[in-house]
Symmetry: C2
Subunit: 495 residues, 2 copies
């Protein structure tokens, strides 16, 4: 089957006025985005004055306050500066963004995943790598090391021998209570009993796939998608059916609907909020639609929400799970992207697959390590997490923006980066002449590691893409990114 | 196929003299065992004087010193007391032991495992259980809580942010170096590069099975065997072929050889040193034979060595891995039985399956939690582990012996317990009239949990057996065991 699909949604910045909130972000973030789109189109250039708060409020029919908040956000991201008594002036041209484009021709046949050498190198014995931009974890400088350390030391002192005892599946009760409360902000209202603690989100996804698929099955996944998921599907002998996903709005539901009508699909896997690698966020209405259509077809929906908390502005977008009325969504998440991967604290709310997931987890490794569960449940209960998230969101928004600038500066002409509304991953499209795998091979000789775009699909494609960790900051990461850009330039000239 | 197999080895205590060392234990432990067998047979009764050191030295043709050490051991276990100038006198009759018996009729066809309700209850949401004798972990009172706690607090303070970073598969280098050194005592000389850190031994076994078996395959296992292994095989859709194992000498190699000749076997799973549940130890020569015959047939041998360090006397028996010259043994172990299950620190040395095991582990959950790996590697490096093991071994020997006495006192007439030479699990055979599942159901009403014998096989049988945790001590465990015994008595009367 060859399928021609057109991206049917009009990107919000194309709208004449009245920005709609296409994701979970609040209105002012939408307004900020609308202003950036004016810079994108060259309507205002560096040094120009942009419309006043009052006039924009009239144009877009939003409150004065909303426009003021939007300009505050743009100031923090150094797009504009405020000159007293004069208004706001453009400070920089936005780095080029990957456009919303027609998804083009996609072969919609399930295919086998092949083993990927680079995935092995990236995920495996990476101890000797000097600069690892492949690890999808925020800069540890942004993590609450001291506070968590104190909680861990306390847990050890206070609970003593209990730390050495097993903490059986489904996991430490007080931790599950706190995770249940976290789900409220995502609109899902999970009960602690619905939650199974796992070793990170990876294990949650593995359990979800084990519970829903059998060897030989086909699974629909958005594409591009987190590379380990493809390798996991390979190990489970499951074929993939890739559904194109745009860098802004996520998976194309029309193509998915077509695929569902024409193939037997065992499960559907998406990262609907701040996707890995693109940072795309599926708009709320489409999340609802996705949940509805998969439930109706009886196809379990596996949701990876690992970046869900990391909105750059506004409030946290709702999860697909929040629209799940038939226990059809297997919700997977972790604290890796907010508190650190070394804790190995993830969880799954497996819906109607709970029994099988619990049994599998219990047989695979009995349960998670006890200490981290105790310490982190107290960290959450005492409210430190909410405070930490607030500052982490602001920092990530700024750092991702800075990384976009750095890429624009140092990569070959024609390079474009996604503009994620959350998370910290940066999906970069280089000119077609640049083969990201060749670039990878040049970089690894200098102990610099990043995942090239081909890893994020099983169908070929994304040959000139790569993913960076936009949370990194400081002289060394800056040197490394510049060096990748420099090597990419040599490839673009020789290509 | 129905197979009549005779247990061909002569149990060592049947030998007229010159005790051979059938396991890795030293000579004096063999001599002690020989003396106990004299009590077993009623040759000496309580209050009797046993042969002098000098005369026994002549009879058994061992040194004076060896006999003295044997009597020291028996004194510590309160079998005999030394009266100055008079010699050694019997203090108690040994509790009845499960005899080495003919393995009887075994149907040697691969069979599907069925899901077991009780396994789910035991391994799952066990938080509300008052007295859990099902958990196979030593009493935490015997674990180095303080020292480990200090190491964990230190690791947190010294290494700071690194604790929050991923520790990718195959695991923390310094920990693998220490685990490699541990393997020397078991005769295996693993290099750190051969070792993959896992979430406990369970995950090691799961990975070993994932690497060697596919759905529909048949796996040979010793029987009885750790119940979670059967459930794991069920989840992996693998059939089992049970090879009888005696409570003293372990798996019957004649039956295994017959099975191998008549069936296609994907892997062979054994717990050759202090088996779970029986505590049996496969003698060194037979370990060598087992490794040789499986290698020759190209059948990977999965060795669970989780109790290997816990010899009650003498030196640690060698692992099967130590005889492996063709990378055919997948060696699985953990620190659960010596430092506590809450750490989730296990490892696997997968031999020629290393690549696949590493890839699977990396995909399943990236790696283990970082903190425990750092803290425990230092604990090992500083020599605390060796000292801890020395005292733990003595304590477990005494406690298991005390538990045997308690069972003899409180269980129905005719009850017999295995006499393990290591570990802390106690395999108990009640009179045939007592159905251990009925007993389980009575006990769980009083929040008392233990695994009945039927869990340790997929073929039926062991209906009147149960497994206890012999490491527990103190008024509450004593009350609980007495209560199980009391309920068993009522069942034996009504049966």
């Amino acid at each position: 089957v060859v399928f021609y699909a057109m991206e049917t949604t009009i990107p919000f910045r194309e709208a004449a006025c009245a920005p709609e909130v296409t994701d979970g972000a609040t209105l002012y973030a939408g307004v900020a985005d609308w202003i950036i789109s004016c810079l994108d189109r060259g309507i205002y250039k560096v040094g120009d004055r942009v419309p006043s708060i009052r006039s924009l409020s009239t144009t877009l029919q939003v409150s004065i306050n909303t426009v003021r908040e939007a300009y505050d956000l743009l100031e923090r991201r150094r797009y504009v500066e405020c000159r007293p008594q004069s208004g706001y002036f453009v400070l920089k041209a936005p780095p080029p963004s990957i456009p919303e484009r027609n998804v083009g021709i996609q072969s919609l046949n399930p295919r086998e995943v092949v083993f990927c050498r680079i995935c092995g190198e990236i995920s495996g014995r990476g101890g000797s790598v000097a600069a690892n931009l492949a690890v999808a974890m925020p800069d540890t400088a942004l993590l609450p090391v001291k506070r968590l350390g104190a909680m861990i030391a306390d847990a050890m002192r206070v609970t003593g021998p209990r730390v050495l005892e097993y903490c059986m599946t489904p996991g430490y009760g007080p931790l599950r209570e706190q995770l249940a409360r976290l789900s409220v902000a995502a609109g899902a209202r999970l009960s602690p009993d619905e939650i199974v603690v796992t070793n990170g989100c990876c294990e949650a996804l593995y359990l979800a796939l084990m519970a829903t698929c059998r060897p030989g099955d086909a699974v629909a996944v958005e594409s591009p998608l987190y590379f380990n998921l493809f390798q996991m599907l390979k190990e489970l002998d499951v074929r993939v059916l890739e559904i194109p996903s745009s860098p802004r709005d996520g998976i194309n539901l029309d193509v998915l609907r077509f695929a569902m009508a024409n193939h037997r699909i065992a499960a559907c896997v998406v990262i609907p909020t701040f996707s890995n690698p693109t940072g795309a966020c599926l708009p709320e209405a489409r999340k609802r639609e996705l949940v509805g259509m998969t439930a109706e077809a009886g196809i379990p929906l596996i949701e990876d929400d690992v970046h869900g908390e990391l909105c750059h502005s506004g409030s946290r977008p709702p999860s697909c799970k929040s629209f799940d009325q038939s226990d059809n969504v297997l919700y997977c998440s972790s604290l890796t992207k907010t508190l650190g991967g070394g804790l190995r604290l993830g969880w799954i709310a497996p819906g109607r697959y709970r029994q099988r997931v619990e049994r599998m987890k219990s047989l695979m490794n009995v349960g998670n390590a006890t200490l981290e569960q105790m310490a982190v449940s107290r960290y959450l209960a005492e409210g430190h997490y909410e405070r930490h998230l607030r500052s982490l969101r602001v920092a990530l928004a700024e750092r991702v923006e800075a990384m976009r600038d750095l890429v624009a500066e140092s990569f070959p002409e024609g390079t474009r980066a996604a503009r994620p509304l959350g998370g910290f991953l940066l999906w970069v499209e280089m000119p077609e002449a640049v083969d990201a795998c060749a670039l990878y091979d040049l970089c690894i000789r200098e102990s610099i590691v990043f995942p090239p775009g081909v890893l994020f699909t099983a169908s070929g494609g994304f040959g000139n893409f790569l993913r960076l960790n936009g949370s990194l900051s400081g002289p060394e990461p800056e040197r490394v990114v510049r060096r990748i850009g420099e090597l990419a330039r040599t490839l673009s000239r020789s290509g």
